[in-house]
Symmetry: C2
Subunit: 412 residues, 2 copies
Amino acid sequence: MNGVERYERSRSLFERAAKVIPGGIYGSKAPGFLVPGAYPYYIESTKGCRMRDADGNEYIDYLCGYGSQIVGYGNERVDGPALERASRGDLLDQPAPVMVDLAERLVASVEGSSWAVFMKNGTDSTTLAYSLARVRTEKPMAIMAAGAYHGAANWCGANPFAALASDREGVLSFRYNDLGGLERLFAENRGRIACLFLTPYHHPTFKPQELPDPALYETARRLCDAEGALLVMDDIRGNFRLHSRGSHVRFGAKPDLWCMGKALANGYPISALLGAEGTRATANSFFITGTYWMSAVPMVAAMATMDEMERLGGVPRLESLGLLLKEGLESAGRESGFGARISGPPAIPFLTFDEDPDLYLNQRFGAAMARRGVFLHPHHNWFISLAHGEDDIAETVSRAREAFAAMRAGRE
Amino acid sequence: MNGVERYERSRSLFERAAKVIPGGIYGSKAPGFLVPGAYPYYIESTKGCRMRDADGNEYIDYLCGYGSQIVGYGNERVDGPALERASRGDLLDQPAPVMVDLAERLVASVEGSSWAVFMKNGTDSTTLAYSLARVRTEKPMAIMAAGAYHGAANWCGANPFAALASDREGVLSFRYNDLGGLERLFAENRGRIACLFLTPYHHPTFKPQELPDPALYETARRLCDAEGALLVMDDIRGNFRLHSRGSHVRFGAKPDLWCMGKALANGYPISALLGAEGTRATANSFFITGTYWMSAVPMVAAMATMDEMERLGGVPRLESLGLLLKEGLESAGRESGFGARISGPPAIPFLTFDEDPDLYLNQRFGAAMARRGVFLHPHHNWFISLAHGEDDIAETVSRAREAFAAMRAGRE
């Protein structure tokens, strides 16, 4: 079956969409971010770690709603309490009592934090962190790693797409893990740095993932302290997949602010900003508001997701599944003579080919796997969920073995 | 029963919250935006136009989740399809087919629009409108009416709260309905204006609402055309309560961009930006993205909300209910010698006292009504929903008659 037939309904939906939606599908879900024609554009249904596209094709899913699914699509222990809350109201005139429970629980869980606020988008959280740091320090600039993603707002320098140059004047960047470069950036901009943004480890789009240099966080803390700048841990993508008490604990970091989201409520829309005690007064002075920010259902879902994470084995379980996948895929690649390598922490893997930094092989492999019923993003890191099982990993590795062999034989 | 007893659980929740959440409750739901001690701080459940607070007190609700409830809390014809969609997945790796249906339907409904994108917050929509206008025109400034609310982002000049002064340098403001002033602002900033933001009518916080001067929109269009600036209709608060084809139709406005949200999906989290054909190419060039922006459940809810609006009588029904409320409350006020006056369009009323522009009487009246089981915001406009009935309005007016009499007698 060729690509046109396999994704016929996706294509016909997309043709309609292109008339009334910019790009047909915009942003990170645009077909061009996958391999156009070789992936489904529309998804119809999901359950556990499986999904079915608009044409009825089935997949084992390793994108997990861009990381948001951590205990599995349609998890009844999350959806049950969420639906019960929904039946009594979601968006209310004032918060529901669960807001207090969730704030208490997060502050107790995330090591070093003493307050929490809830929002919708991850970008709401990083933007508030940036604003709060600027108001707290009365200094204008943020430092970020080049290629790091901290949201789609204009102020985030990482977005390489259309916006006015003047929108990005608040951001300086350094090469990830270049400690000397970071030190120089602080020295050259003394008195102007409000904050340093870091993701727990580096996960640039289109590139292998990179773990932090063992001295990165000690250096970051020291430079921030000397400058009076805040250290912001953007844990939105890593959320709960690296450490149950916050990804910073895994790497020994001591942030002032934490951005959380995605897996926080297993796909229900909520993000959070947490802060250390020293930032509380500044946070108190802010007008933080959004129509949907105190909706009750995602808060109930967040509580239930944390329970379910624990029940299903949490980070250790995610890591053992991730290691199985890593070993299986790398070995399957070697069998066909490919230098396929998985980078990053086991629960958030990404595959690249040592022999092809330009990702053409990624695209061929991704397309071959999509055709075989496994959804692996060719340009963005993947995610393991607690709904994946050893059998799903084994099936994935078996499909990969076929795909690598077909690529080697020039049939993919 | 005194205030402490009536709201005991609200208070005790708030005491816990104050330890782990900045301000305990932040933003527009902060107790200080109501009358501290005289309103519930936490809501437990809702149905139709009624709600029950954390202490079990019941209310007829006229805030409607800050306008988001338009066909009533827990409306089964909205929640039914939404829950069915939820059972098959909400946040997916790619959009669900309903995204195409919703874009087609909105573009067909909103007069003058030719494309739509979906986001979460109202502020996402106004911020994208501002960015798009700046990129389209290559000019930096937005004009807004003083006191108008276009979101909680730093760039919106309307937010009077903490942010760096430099964050607001992109906004100029004029006195609403001062057509000469608006003309001068354009003249003095020729070549620098990217866009003019207007809400369909003026609904400043803490003040009576004001309908547009009959010449406002013709003037606005002419000035924008001469400057090459875009006219942005921020219809988030008015959404579907003024006209079924967009609030601009009611007032004869011809915008280039439309911001929608709140009532769009009866409280399910979604916002939208719509654009006229002339803005399509610029929209195509943007990277528009957010983890939850293509979630399917709110899109299904939006479709169902539009159906249900129509079935229940739409804007004419909302207006007849609103007029009943206006006549009833104004007449009840007069009976006790108060100049209580309802301003704004009938479906989005707000009460102020002619004899007290400082709103002390508003606060006394709001507190007296809260005690009597009617939730009327003392500082922010109200909303009628299609779940309100003549009997609810009659009960409200009857409680108001008691409240005004008690105020006149010095007992409130």
